[in-house]
Point group: D2
Chain length 265, copies 4
């Protein structure tokens, strides 16, 4: 079972590139299941139902999000109708949407989770370590072996700690939120694939997908500024994880990292 | 001019590995100048004069630090005597030590800076963007072309913004502090080499060099815990930058990332 | 039923003053029940079993704490044996100690809670709003009317929000942690007494009980410094709440704020 | 010389009450000079030129602000034209506006400063302790004795530290930003009047001037919410400082704290 995960899709450049290239990536890499993080796909802030549908039509099986999930007003209602879009699971009960999606694939059932870290994140959420432990145990009770977690968090320590915490219990823990891919992909001692951050799908000449000058100006002046999405060639970042459907353990994890040439855009 | 930079050296495992392998790395890669980040070299917290001397003897030309610079009491006095150990430059004037070291090399003069970010960092320091702009201008006035900055910061946005801010004005901006190497090495449009984070030199099976169980326990319980330095095989992380001594521009930047086998330790 | 609450007792000056003056305060004000916040009573950091016993002997019925609860090593074990010392209730289950103490008084049963805010606090804890709502409901099921909460939190917004959240359900919500008494004591619309912060019991010429020069130096230099407890005359701060035992509603809340003259120390 | 300072004016309820009652307060208390914090006067977010002019017409001599200063777009230009509206002084040079206003009064010259703290504040600004020390020294060089600082900061420690830092060098340091008045007004040992927070001018039944239900909902759900300005009776909070014009030292500081009855609105 080969899972493709692509990190935070940023704005129109990011989502156009993903929509255009996803089918080829899937066939080139024999992908069985595709998960995209769409928290920045609507102008850099959140996701809309229309954009989500475009991504599903292009080949996504599940869309994860993060701290930007609520940026677009319509999303709260849409999450109730569309179980394939996840918000972090560690919100209090009563909040719209869900942080877990279970589905059948030709190679067996898979459970996809989205959770959010608590260090240096905007929202104060419940303990993702305790919630994931409990939830994964419930998943195992259902006989589901293949489990993927997009852990949306700022610090490397929290993201690596989650990997070890779930090591041997899930197939993969891949981090998102920093928009920069880390170079530490590995199979942890008990069989869980880990990558601290998948990186983003967004403009190469940018700061996290945003216009360079705006962000530099903010750091220089301490003044609030608008951060338009940048233009130009897009880099697609993520990971491909090969999972043994029998055991749910990861066999390999490979970073996906491809700069599209201007001619490819 | 080939510069080797190695990221945060963590505790005894990290510094033993660096001391043992640095000479070979230097000769294998034709290194002309070596910069090490030593902020965690003393038991994970700060650096001592003895450890610094061991690192210089092993081949370091300059040692940079970061938010942990003051962790060992003796360091404040030692910084006054040893100009080759830097603390972040953006402290108020009057603070011991310096954030800039200039030296001659067979290939010309080089200026090495250490600065600290302000987002999610423990100390409230002065604006590193304004200080670096001013300082780099002074360096240029002295006719110095080769300039290296270790920018010790938490967020990817601040570290990438600094790269673009100094693009074309310095040879390289390499980030530290997160202890995880990023996979985004590149030459920015105007010739500055950039890597968001160099990663650490420390135990592979660890969370930022610390014992896995301790850190996971903290995230689960929210209780304070001791974080001993982990044991086991060490990974060395950093970057090699090839700089044109005439222009000061970077020709190439390559990530350095090597897991030492147990037999090599 | 008249409840006396005194805010964060800081170091030896604070606890000596509280121990010396508590009996007189209790008799002068016809106090039926006394709650002290002891999180800084041991040299400014945490509380020890010996200090706690001294405070109980002086007349405390319950001791609350906050983010400093774990500062002294012995406390974790002691919390298990001494139910009258509370730690914030919103830790995950499994953590030593409790955040609720119920006891009989001549005027009826009282439940005392300690909870911790989440905005700008060191530890990431669980949602105190949800936990308090649930816990207060359980207390009501037991027929207990008189309920006091020491809500240890940084921001005024979180502390006032908790007051309104529990308004009509508890007798009083009094804040601690900032060490400065606020001037906003009032009975909220549905009968809960509220004071955003009780203030501390500690040296008057100080910054939160600590030596002035040390703290000012830190803000000027951004360097780490030791913060010894200050010396000199002590100010005792807190609140007296008069509760109707039948309904559990507050009748009055008065700030307690008394600067001891040097001759009184 | 009697100075009236009123804390953060929140929205229409706050500014209507200030405009209506300011003349009477000034005459009742023999006020010579009036300073208002207007950072929340425009719907809770920032200030507009029109609102500022209304406040000046009602009797303000100077308007201070804080972290919300830039919330209304037009303000950046207006600050350049209207020196009586201050923004925090510790922005980098080049930023619109100023943090100091000097003016003549019948009782002598007065310098009014506005500065912003760095702990838990949205923007990363320059060191207010160093800047204030330098600026106050320049003010003294001009022979100006009467100096007022509105120090806009979150934590009690930073606000009290600033008081001691400038003690004997300025007439008064009054804090703002938390919207809750503290009960610790005093003359520091060397003659500077200090109040940790002046409190706000805004609706009594509110959380920092905002609608109660909205804020409580946010703390319960961790979801983003709109925070409309609350309605109902307004409380006016601030301080009156009596300054000796010869020495610039404070003679007295009194908290101003008045709840307007519904009939007074
Ligand atoms: Fe995010
Ligand atoms: Fe994102
Ligand atoms: Fe660091
Ligand atoms: Fe480090
Ligand atoms: Fe505290
Ligand atoms: Fe405290
Ligand atoms: Fe503010
Ligand atoms: Fe405000």
């Amino acid at each position: 079972m080969r899972i493709l995960f692509l990190g935070d899709i940023v704005g129109e450049p990011g989502r156009k590139a993903v929509i255009k290239y996803l089918p080829a990536i899937q066939s080139d890499h024999d992908i069985d299941f595709t998960i995209l993080n769409g928290e920045n796909s609507a102008g850099g802030r959140g996701i809309t139902p229309v954009i989500a549908n475009d991504l599903f039509r292009a080949g996504a099986d599940v869309i994860t999000t993060g701290d930007h999930v609520w940026d677009q007003r319509e999303v709260a209602d849409h999450l109730e109708k569309e179980p394939r879009i996840l918000r972090p699971i560690n919100y209090p009960s009563g909040v719209p949407g869900a942080g877990l999606f279970i589905t059948d694939t030709p190679k067996g059932k898979i459970a996809v989770f989205n959770a959010q870290g608590r260090t240096f994140m905007g929202q104060a959420l419940e303990n993702p370590f305790l919630i994931m432990e409990e939830q994964v145990s419930l998943i195992h009770d259902q006989g589901i072996k293949m489990v993927f977690l997009d852990f949306h968090a700022e610090t490397t320590s929290e993201k690596i700690a989650m990997g070890y915490h779930l090591d041997g219990k899930v197939s993969a823990v891949v981090g998102t939120h920093t928009h920069v891919q880390t170079a530490d992909e590995r199979i942890l001692p008990n069989g869980t694939a880990h990558l601290t951050d998948a990186g983003m799908c967004g403009p190469e000449t940018s700061i996290l997908g945003r216009n360079v000058e705006s962000i530099v100006y903010r750091f220089k002046s301490s003044l609030p500024t608008r951060f338009p999405v940048a233009k130009g060639p897009v880099r697609l970042c993520g990971a491909i994880i090969d999972v043994d459907p029998e055991s749910g353990k990861a066999r390999t994890i490979t970073r996906y990292n491809r700069l599209l040439e201007p001619s490819e855009m």
